[in-house]
């Protein structure tokens, strides 16, 4: 066959969110790739500037449905540092429990999706059944299955009763057993090994060069985890270890995520058993002093960065969110070349992309037919003209 442009997306069964690849294929082999990521710009960063610190957190939780706690977490720790707040240890432990439950449900969800893209629907069904355990625990703790609304500046909003703690602890062994089964399936199931091993290779040097984060980087042997390297909340007090792998392929990323599942379970168990007594929050001042902070947190997909600038008011002057998916995208375009068409969904899924969190802006031509790019200078110029016009009207 001659070279064919195979459009994948914005609507495609393999994609849960809109993104567009123009894949140039020669027969079954990929020779080139064009990537177009921004289809769901929601203006959250701008909207965050309009809300005070109480009302901004529900908004930030909605940056991402899956790692909603991570965004609230990164923002709260940043603001607390600007305000010099000393958050009580019980609140920090509760935050850690929710964060790790969130990581577990995200990784189990990913494992199911990864199995689904290689057509192994049995593992997909099983993982999603077992994921209900984490969802139930989260619902009991916070009242919601998603967008938990647990965090606030200065602490958390809900406490755990002793009965709840023992109820959660009693459900963990079953979950642990199921995770053990997944390890066996991923390591032993022949068709999955065929589809995961040696696919989407990314060497350590490439992983560093393209700035990958999270499990994608750790699977390439980059020993980097914000929870250990820049610990916040209760991570410094809990015994756990960073999971890495050296294979650098999809198989390695799977192993890293499954390893993290087991580590997360350990963290949750430790936090529940050693939950300190005390208050679950302290009242926070309404106004934050002038300051700038780069708050980092290890979301399930990797390092999440919130840049916050405050200016003696009750709202942020500027909030910039760098989601882990944005950091990992470039590595996908590299690892896809010279692979098979059949491997596109696997390689894309392997970074666990969360596309709508990544979208910032898309420029459409007048008739909406083509997308274009803007340089930084053009963007600044556009912004100045836009606001000048806005101020006049």
């Amino acid at each position: 066959m001659p070279e064919v442009v195979l459009p994948i997306g914005p609507q495609h069964p393999a994609l849960k969110e809109p993104v567009n690849f123009k894949v140039i294929v020669d027969g079954e082999t990929i020779v080139g790739l064009e990537l177009d990521v921004s289809y769901t710009h929601r203006g959250i960063e701008k909207a965050a500037e309009q809300r005070d610190f109480i009302r901004v957190i529900p908004l930030l939780e909605r940056v991402c449905g899956i790692c909603s706690h991570a965004h609230a977490q990164a923002f709260c720790t940043g603001i607390e540092e600007i305000m010099h707040l000393e958050v009580p240890p019980r609140a920090q432990y509760l935050r850690t429990i929710v964060a790790e439950l969130e990581r577990m449900h995200s990784h189990i969800l990913w494992l199911g999706v990864a199995a689904h893209v290689v057509g192994f629907n049995t593992l997909f069904m099983w993982t999603w059944r077992d994921r209900e355990t984490t969802q139930d625990i989260l619902e009991e703790m916070t009242g919601n299955r998603m967008n938990y609304g647990m965090n606030e500046v200065g602490g958390v909003r809900r406490d755990l009763k002793p009965g709840q703690i023992s109820s959660i602890l009693s459900r963990l062994p079953k979950l642990e057993e199921q995770i053990g089964k997944y390890v066996g399936m991923v390591r032993g199931e022949e068709t999955m090994l065929l589809r995961f091993r040696g696919i989407g290779k990314l060497s350590k040097a490439e992983a560093l060069k393209y700035g990958t984060v999270g499990p994608t980087a750790r699977a390439s042997g980059v020993d980097y985890d914000i929870r250990r390297d820049d610990p916040s909340i209760a991570y410094a007090e809990v015994p756990w270890k960073v999971v890495t792998d050296t294979s650098g392929d999809v198989y390695g990323r799977t192993l890293v995520r499954i390893g993290e599942l087991q580590e997360s379970l350990g963290i949750i168990r430790y936090c529940l058993e050693h939950l300190p007594e005390g208050k679950i929050g302290i009242p926070a001042p309404k106004v934050a002093p002038r300051g700038e902070i780069l708050s980092r947190y290890e979301a399930p997909r990797g390092e999440l960065v919130h840049f916050i600038r405050t200016n003696d008011t009750d709202r942020v002057e500027r909030l910039d969110i760098r989601t882990p998916t944005l950091a990992n995208w470039t590595s996908v375009t590299v690892s896809l070349v010279n692979q098979n068409i059949a491997d596109i969904p696997v390689i894309v899924a392997a970074i666990d992309p969360c596309l709508s969190c990544t979208s910032r802006i898309t420029i459409l031509s007048e008739r909406g037919r083509r997308t274009a790019e803007m340089t930084w200078a053009q963007l600044v110029d556009h912004g100045q003209r836009f606001y000048r016009k806005w101020g006049r009207s």
Binding site: T191, R195, N340
Partner: protein, 322 residues
Amino acid sequence: MDLLLVIYVLLFPGFLFLLAYGFLLQYLDRKIAARMQARVGPPLLQPVADFIKMLGKEVIDPAGVDRAAFDAAPLMALAAVMTAFLYIPIVGESPFAFQGDLVLVLYLLTLPTIALFLLGWLSRNVFSSVGGVRAVTMLFIYEVPFFLALLMPALMAGSWSISEIAGWQQEHGWFALLQPIGFVVGLIGLQAKLERQPFDIPEAETEIVAGPWTELTGRRLALMHLTMQVMLVAGSGLIAALFLGGPLLPWNISPAWLATIAGFLMFLGKTLLILVILASLKVATGRIRIDQLNDIGWKYLASATILQVGIVLLMDYIRVGT
């Protein structure tokens, strides 16, 4: 006699039974897979409901498509597999049996794949053409071991008629025991022919939407699904006849009507057994890549079948020699 033949073709065990049994097998296939995957699964009449609903849906012609050919391809595929079914022994010998019907059936069972390729080609859609090319590529990989495996019983029984091969096993034992490698290759080949996991490469949902099926709507889609359903019946009936003795029992039953009923029950039992094996295979595997299938097909399946051919020739030589 003529009336009986008409009843045989149209009612039982011909087309009416074939369609009903096809729906039942599809239901069982979905239900078994669902239970294994910790799902509830469909109710009994769901496949029928799906079929009727799809028949009633709008038929959409992709821009610039050759309508006549696009309509004809699913019909051709369905006609081919339904014809193939008539040569498969169900309650006893097929009344249409002749020397060489095995070759005819194998040929007819290949036509749906060709129809899928045609549909992919005619659809004028990238996903469809890639899927169509994949379907044909896959055909070249599994067809050689599949044919060889299914022709080995003919070689050993000394007949090219499916009914006679089934009859031969009544005296000498099942070919599944005499030629286990061929039996396994036959089952794998059937799974590949039906484009089920791990061989659902041409219609890989997450890669190429639905492959050749992408542009099929309404009755075209319904007919293509029905084709695959009928092929499941015909294919498992074929394997049952060639390797598991078909509808015949190892001993003779005296009243003819009792023998017929027993034979029919044997057919049902054996095809259901094959279905359970195929469904388990579907649930236990993911989808492999076409280049990996190429490796597996030519390295292992083909070599195993050639080994089986050698064993059969050796067994024949010893048998004739003594």
